[in-house]
Symmetry: C2
Subunit: 181 residues, 2 copies
């Protein structure tokens, strides 16, 4: 079940570089796309994604100025690949891939129940010359009961790297960490 | 030993979201910083990084309009953390962390011999309002003999996730992959 997650920790979902799902709502329908080109741009949090007219979702993103960034885990790999290789122009991807849309608290785009985490975002800016969309996280939700928490990293050549061992250097880094993290 | 890597494959180094080292040369000295906020923006390749005046390297990056993105592996974790928690303002980080600078073929910033890969880049644009620097990869080098190839993903809270298992969905994705990848 999705539970609220503090905004101050949201950048830690994206900083490790997982492939994500981005949902939109165009006023009539939900849609979802797979995006691997993402970046944290500050701790508030703001996030950047690279997208453009070649993605069917882009029109809804521009029009609504809202989206949800959902973080899938390794058990969802075939949905991630399926979503990335068909188009919302002719497919209801939530239905086709068995995803459950949940209402967000701030935006019209849906959360995805099956994902580990969901970040409700508003579009802050679109840097057209680089196809960069800058987003601000407004609210976030984490499924704390989820057992599988390993995310996926797209290589871009058809391979995906699954999260492996986790190492701590917190003691060494303490002075440099943002507050509340 | 660093061997040339085709530019068409360079985005596959950054798309999985590894923490990277960014080297610069300010006309007198080499410097290097740890950066986790990176994103591919197209296949040519262009890459975006988030940085600004709070990083000592930023002045050299702006002035020289060049840098090298080096990809470290898990055996370099303590160097990655050390580089990220001191400043080039008062430290020769290559010397302190035992890194070997190698000359690049296109830029004045050094390659790092100990890393898995190095991407020589020029600055295409600085999007000041978001602290986003857009880079174009000009040449790339891969250490094909290196045994340890697992990269690190910074979580941002002092933890790092090491690359785990690699899964292929190439057959399903073939139609969507860029040429030469």
């Amino acid at each position: 079940m999705m539970a609220p997650m503090p905004l101050a920790r949201v950048f830690t979902l994206i900083e490790p570089g997982p492939v994500v799902l981005v949902t939109t709502h165009d006023g009539k329908r939900h849609n979802v796309m797979t995006i691997s080109w993402t970046m944290v741009t500050d701790f508030t949090p703001t996030l950047a994604i690279t997208t453009g007219p070649w993605n069917h979702s882009y029109a809804a993103l521009r029009k609504s100025r809202e989206c949800v960034i959902a973080v899938p885990t390794v058990d969802l790999l075939d949905q991630v690949v399926g979503i990335g290789t068909c188009t919302g122009a002719d497919t209801d991807k939530f239905e086709r891939f068995g995803l459950t849309p949940l209402p967000g608290s701030c935006v019209g785009a849906p959360l995805i129940k099956e994902c580990l985490a969901n970040i409700e975002c508003r579009v802050v800016d679109i840097v057209r010359r680089h196809n960069i969309v800058v987003l601000e996280g407004l609210a976030a939700h984490l499924d704390r009961a989820r057992r599988e928490r390993r995310t996926l990293h797209a290589v871009g050549d058809g391979h995906f790297v699954v999260d492996g061992p986790r190492l701590s250097r917190r003691a060494k880094m303490r002075a440099k960490l943002p507050p509340d993290v």
